[in-house]
């Protein structure tokens, strides 16, 4: 519940303030968002199965974001930034899909 409210608050604040993304961060922000979405869907899935662990959620959230950003950074340094970030998005997207499928199975038993 808190998480849902926090999400809404974050979105509202983000839209209300309309901050500009620093140029240096603009390549990382979308990847970080996708990574965080993966962590959050994983957390919801665990929550629904009563497997949720706050510490693990926090750590996976942060590490997901950091690793994703690191990969993009590394890709940029290696000159394959576009391809690597595409790869990261694909992998994270698959994970999000898997998580959502698990959530769906838990909630609707289908």
């Amino acid at each position: 519940m808190i998480a849902l409210i926090a999400l809404v608050v974050g979105v509202v604040v983000g839209f209300a303030l309309e901050p500009t993304v620093p140029t240096g961060l603009q390549a990382y922000l979308p990847i970080a968002v996708v990574a965080a979405l993966d962590a959050v869907t994983g957390g919801v899935r665990a929550w629904l199965r009563k497997e949720f662990n706050d510490k693990q959620f926090v750590i996976s959230f942060v590490s997901n974001v950091l690793v994703a950003a690191l990969m993009v950074y590394l890709g940029d340094k290696l000159g394959v930034g576009a391809q690597l970030s595409t790869g990261v998005v694909v992998v994270l997207g698959m994970r999000i899909f898997a998580n959502v499928a698990a959530i769906r199975q838990t909630l609707f038993k289908a």
Binding site: G10, M94, Q105
Partner: protein
């Protein structure tokens, strides 16, 4: 992992309520959960997905109805999670916002920018080619138009010139008016012809001859002068009697000089007892016209 954990879960829940009635779902359970859950955690869904599903189906049957809304967390973790998720929402909104705006270019990667630049460059080139071709087309059209107008003007001018030359158009301009009053022989055709030749040589452009009777005749290239009976001259079949008035358009002084040279027309007529008076009015009218004969045999070569 899941089958390892779910019996555990199923075991703790019923066990907790009888043993510790005051704290059914409290953080003091978390040590056991902590140790069990990381292995079945959120981090590797792909690895345990098939087994998870199978275990989930099996476990749900044994478990009491899912009561996820009663799941409680320590306040600090909840706050932390809240902050993280809020951060996610914030970043999401910011990203969506910045993607909406034009600033997307500012953070684009170098290769993307290069690609975009390439695309724009080639597009610009295409458009420039189009501009050039359209420009040349326009130029062509306007030059054609201009050329047509020019040609039309020239043709008109030429038609005017030819009309004056052929005697189909009336003309006026500076020139001379020469009156021949015959002596006892009158004015012969040869004198008139000499005068006409002399005037042509001096640059006469249009001529007509008028007798005191018989009207006026335009003098053109094919005009014939024949001595007629009774001191008259037949000009193109028109019988003109003296005195004859020759109206000439051209450079007056030159023509006057040409007529007055010793042994010239004026001299000849005077020796024959006639009189010639040359006037130079400001405007000479050559008003008589004749129709140009259509060429029956000659065709232009082009």
């Amino acid at each position: 992992m899941a089958d390892h954990q779910e019996p555990n879960d199923a075991g703790t829940d019923p066990a907790a309520s009888p043993q510790q009635p005051e704290s059914p779902e409290r953080p003091d359970q978390s040590p056991t959960e902590d140790s069990a859950e990381p292995r079945a955690g959120t981090d590797d869904p792909r690895a345990d997905e098939p087994r998870d599903d199978a275990a989930g189906e099996a476990g749900r049957d044994e478990l009491p109805p899912v009561r996820w809304w009663t799941h409680r967390l320590p306040r600090r973790s909840a706050a932390l999670i809240g902050v993280l998720v809020a951060l996610l929402g914030f970043a999401l909104a910011v990203q969506v916002n910045s993607n909406d705006s034009d600033q997307a270019l500012a953070g684009a990667r170098q290769e993307d920018l290069v690609r975009i630049l390439d695309t724009l460059d080639s597009r610009k080139e295409r458009l420039q080619q189009e501009i050039a071709s359209l420009n040349s087309q326009r130029q062509q059209i306007s030059s054609t138009e201009q050329g047509r107008a020019e040609a039309l003007k020239e043709a008109r001018q030429r038609a005017d010139d030819l009309g004056i030359l052929a005697g189909t158009l009336p003309a006026e301009g500076p020139g001379l008016s020469v009156v021949f009053s015959g002596g006892k022989d009158g004015v012969g055709a040869s004198v008139l012809l000499d005068a006409v030749e002399e005037l042509r040589g001096a640059g006469a452009e249009a001529m007509q001859v008028e007798g005191s009777s018989g009207g006026a005749v335009r003098i053109v290239a094919s005009t014939a002068f024949v001595d007629g009976s009774g001191r008259a001259v037949l000009v193109d079949g028109n019988r003109l009697s003296a005195p004859l008035t020759l109206s000439v358009i051209g450079d007056g002084s030159t023509m006057q000089a040409a007529l007055n040279i010793p042994g010239g027309v004026v001299d000849t007529v005077r020796q024959a007892g006639g009189r010639v008076s040359v006037r130079q009015p400001s405007v000479v009218q050559v008003s008589v016209t004749r129709s140009a004969p259509a060429a029956r045999y000659a065709r232009p070569v082009s």
